[in-house]
């Protein structure tokens, strides 16, 4: 537990130094940010997560309740994903555009092209898959995805309106 708290403290201090720019962690060895692998239960899947339960981490005008890291087999971070307490609002969107510029795509679901529900025979579950044509829109059009494609990395904002939350993923690209 002490190691875990130490890691959290060090990680938070590192992140604060980077002014919330989580893309700066991409490509780094996960152990270099003082993560003791043994503390992570799911490390066999190259997936690491930390909930900020009692002390949500500030992210601009919002709060992070959960952060997860994906690594490659060499334990280099390939993705950092943060889950925010609420949807990204106009203020945060403006802040992000001031840092990363105008987004490459703002995807607003449009006409439904495909909607199918199947009942799995192997597993007792149903799956409903829908595909929608997406139109380029503005922030005010309630987009599902806002994407910035930058050199060496990509930022994806996922807006989950039904849950009133949002996720921001920073992914390394070749």
């Amino acid at each position: 537990m002490k190691n875990y708290l130490l890691f959290l403290t060090l990680l938070i201090s590192q992140l604060e130094m980077s002014e919330h720019q989580y893309e700066l962690l991409l490509g780094k060895d996960i152990s270099s940010i003082t993560i003791d692998n043994s503390e992570f239960i799911a490390n066999k899947s190259n997936y690491y997560s930390i909930p900020f339960i009692d002390n949500p981490k500030a992210y601009h005008n919002n709060y992070i309740y959960f952060i997860s890291f994906c690594t490659n087999d060499e334990k280099k971070i390939t993705e950092v994903s943060i889950k925010l307490k609420t949807l990204v609002d106009k203020e945060l969107y403006t802040t992000l555009t001031s840092i990363y510029g105008q987004p490459t795509m703002i995807l607003v679901p449009d006409k439904i092209l495909y909607d199918k529900t199947i009942e799995s025979e192997k597993v007792k579950a149903t799956v409903r898959k829908t595909k929608s044509k997406a139109k380029q829109g503005a922030f005010e059009d309630n987009p599902t995805f806002i994407i910035w494609e930058k050199k060496g990395f990509k930022i994806e904002v996922l807006m989950k309106y039904e849950q009133n939350i949002s996720e921001i993923s920073f992914r390394k690209v070749a």
């Binding site: 239960i41 799911a42 066999k44 899947s45 997936y47 997560s49 909930p51 339960i53 309740y65 959960f66 997860s68 994906c70 490659n72 087999d73 993705e79 994903s81 889950k83 307490k85 795509m105 995807l107 679901p109 092209l113 199918k116 529900t117 199947i118 799995s120 192997k122 597993v123 007792k124 579950a125 149903t126 799956v127 409903r128 898959k129 829908t130 595909k131 929608s132 044509k133 997406a134 599902t144 995805f145 994407i147 994806e156 996922l158 989950k160 039904e162 849950q163 009133n164 939350i165 070749a174």
Partner: protein, 473 residues
């Protein structure tokens, strides 16, 4: 990237193959392991009060007499002794050797939510009728364990309460020097050998039943009762052929702790509402919740208990009230699987710890090229009923906490996979998620199955949380 995906697929196929083998092995073993108790002890019965005319009449007389006493008593006496019988719940009955004991679930006015009470009445052909109240204050987790397995043996504190009655009917509440001696019958049949001790009922196999008699004195402090161990304590097994030949326990009322199930949920909801809407109400406490929200939620007893405990342990603080309200208002739409969804149980005679969850649902999102144009794709997976198994060395709480982490990780891994593989078919999506659930559960030495490892009568609804997967340890 291609190499990585290939490696992932190979690993997935390997895990699936191993899981399939393990699961098949487990299923086979289960057939051997799970042998149900098939005794036939006709002395144990269940029934509702309205089906027993003599008992109903007796209780009517009892209450009428009590009413006259209570009306002239102090108000605190009324609170302490007033009770209502829960009519629509089965009583536990023991009928043998010319005597019959009824264990009747009751709801006492102002009783704390962690305590339950039974009215115990014993009719006998040769002895005066006995009637008294037993108050049970069980260990943490007992209510949840009983919900999963009604034969969970009671341990905790027990006190007796004399019914304030003048004794004009049948020598009612006759006691021996202000004390009453009661008998509890236990059974330790497990896979055709002596094993885990549980409360004896009609299915207890002859030769595996033993009894313990305890004396409670009215007005004394609650007495600690633990689960007895026949091997170490030398309690006599009741020989085959029943109690009348070698068992004198029928001389005492035979008690079977009976949790008033329906009222307890209402009590918990009332306690939660009192905490949020009434207690600590001052200028700074403006937090309230619409009682209708609680009525609309179909949570289990354990889930209500967790919420109630979190409020009480923090003195109904404003901060926790707000957290609870947020949780209740969004219990089915928040992003993290909460550990209270996973109500593990290990029946006394089965070497498996498992839980059942209904409506485990998650939606995955992606975007990509669809017929040459950019589009958005969603996939919503719903398990109407799914089972998780964890090692028996874990506690129920540890198993629940670990399962929530495993499910959360499986969902997140599937989310990442779907972003890249949005063209996957519906079957491939569910297959991948299933791989991930099995793989992540395997990291905790558990598994996920579509088949019940044993009968789980009350699957818990899938509950999510805004904050985290929670800690149910």
């Amino acid at each position: 990237m291609k190499q990585k995906i290939l490696n992932c697929l190979k690993f997935g196929i390997l895990v699936f193959g191993i899981s399939l083998v393990l699961f098949n092995c487990q299923t086979d073993n289960s057939d051997e392991l799970i042998q149900f108790e098939k005794g036939n002890n006709t002395a144990f019965k269940k029934g509702k009060l309205q089906d027993y005319d003599d008992l109903s009449t007796y209780i009517e007389n009892l209450k009428r007499r009590r009413a006259s006493i209570i009306s002239s008593a102090e108000s605190d006496i009324e609170d302490a002794y007033d009770f209502t019988i829960i009519q629509d719940q089965d009583m536990q009955i023991y009928d043998e050797g010319g005597s019959i004991t009824y264990n009747i679930p009751i709801h006492k006015t102002n009783e704390e939510v962690d305590i339950f009470s039974n009215l115990v009445i014993k009719f006998s052909d040769i002895e005066p009728t006995q009637a008294f109240i037993l108050n049970y204050e069980p260990y943490d987790g007992y209510f949840e364990d009983v919900e999963q397995n009604s034969q969970t043996p009671f341990s905790g504190y027990v006190s007796s309460q004399l019914l304030e009655y003048d004794g004009s009917l049948d020598g009612l509440a006759e006691t021996d020097g202000g004390c009453i001696t009661v008998t509890t019958k236990y059974c330790d049949w497990e896979n055709n050998q002596h094993g885990a001790v549980h409360i004896a009922t009609s299915n207890c196999t002859e030769g595996y039943m033993f009894y313990v008699s305890t004396t409670y004195c009215f007005g004394d402090a609650p007495q600690l009762v633990d689960v007895p161990s026949p091997s170490s304590s030398g309690f006599p097994y009741i020989p085959s052929g029943g109690g009348s030949s070698g068992d004198s326990s029928y001389e005492h009322p035979v008690i079977i702790p009976t949790v008033p199930s329906i009222s307890r949920e209402e009590e918990l909801k009332k306690s939660i509402l009192d905490c949020i809407n009434t207690l600590s109400l001052n200028n700074s406490d403006t937090t309230t919740i619409d009682p209708e929200i609680l009525e609309q939620l179909n949570l289990t007893l354990r889930q209500w208990t967790v919420i109630n405990d979190s409020l009480n342990e923090n003195g109904c603080s404003e901060e926790v009230q707000e957290d609870v309200i947020e949780f209740l208002e969004n219990v089915f739409v928040y992003p993290y699987p909460h550990c209270s969804s996973f109500e593990y149980a290990k029946p006394p005679n089965i070497n498996i710890r498992a839980c059942a969850v209904t409506n485990l649902t998650e939606t995955f999102y992606a975007y990509g090229r669809l017929n040459g144009q950019v589009g958005t794709i969603t996939a919503t997976v719903n398990y109407s009923l799914v089972f998780f198994v964890m090692p028996t060395w874990m506690t129920n709480g540890q198993a629940a906490t670990s399962t929530a982490i495993a499910v959360n990780n499986a969902l997140n891994l599937t989310k990442n996979w779907f972003l890249i593989n949005y063209e996957a078919s519906e079957s491939e999506i569910i297959t991948y998620l299933d791989f991930m659930l099995i793989e992540q559960m395997a990291l905790f030495a558990g598994t996920k199955t579509d088949f019940p490892p044993f009968t789980i009568p009350s699957p818990a609804p899938y509950v999510t949380s805004l904050l985290s997967t929670g800690n149910c340890n």
